[in-house]
Symmetry: C2
């Protein structure tokens, strides 16, 4: 196996492993429990879940896989802090979004060829990319895995 | 730049970025504040810090960079949960260990050639590695970056 192939496999394995770990913790928490703050005065579990769907929704755009599927989640879960937006979707619906989104991303990633991962993502110009070849699609997976792990460390506080 | 080189750079950039982010939060917290629990009944900040030094100490062994420098941290910060070990090093000393450890790892990583990252780490046998070439040194960095992000999400709760 070529080193590039090995590196891409490791990065995607870490993404998938991080999703699985998040799911393990998410599935252990009831809808009611997710309405609690992870610590006094901090974000609620539901905010972390909505935030994750909103951030991963943007991966579609960055990887040129289509339009956002949940643009309405930007305001309550990305632009605004928790408890700012009065009306947010119920936990059960966010769980459904999350599950479908994970399956969709998994399907799309499965169609990508090795070199596709080293193409520029959509938030960088061709000129910038010529000098900064690391601003590619694979790097989106690397940074979003970090982001997911960061919030997984918070979600577990509800257990 | 070759794709393998790009992939290794992205992974090391994410490691370094994660260290910098942890340090930003760590440096914003006083020694006294680090003695507090991140939430009622949860780990204290000092435990997270000691845990991080203990886990990164093991990177030396896994990457064949030498012996552990702080084997005494295994029991209080890895084997045992927080508040089990009566005597732990003061926060100021753990900060010093951490800073020196980061500098040492950075220096060692700087000496590694591209292909060194794809050599097997020390916890896998040559036979296993022949079939599982992803169990290499670079994968240690990938998984430890995840681990660091997970606990960074917890450390910030003290702010």
């Amino acid at each position: 196996m070529h080193t590039t192939e090995i590196a891409v496999k490791m990065i995607l394995d870490r993404w998938n492993g991080s999703i699985a770990n998040w799911n393990k913790h998410l599935n252990a928490l009831s809808d009611e429990r997710l309405m609690d703050e992870i610590a006094p005065g901090k974000n609620r579990g539901v905010y972390l879940l909505g935030h994750m769907v909103a951030v991963h929704d943007d991966i579609l755009r960055l990887l040129d896989l289509g339009e956002k599927q949940h643009p309405e989640l930007y305001e309550p879960f990305l632009k605004n802090a928790d408890k700012v937006t009065a009306q947010i979707p119920p936990v059960a619906l966010l769980r459904e979004y999350w599950t479908k989104q994970c399956a969709f991303l998994d399907e799309q990633f499965g169609k990508m060829q090795l070199n596709d991962w080293f193409d520029k993502h959509t938030a960088v110009s061709a000129e910038e990319f010529a000098n900064e070849p690391h601003r590619n699609k694979l790097n989106i997976i690397i940074t979003r895995t970090s982001h997911l792990q960061y919030h997984t460390g918070q979600l577990v506080m509800l257990q």
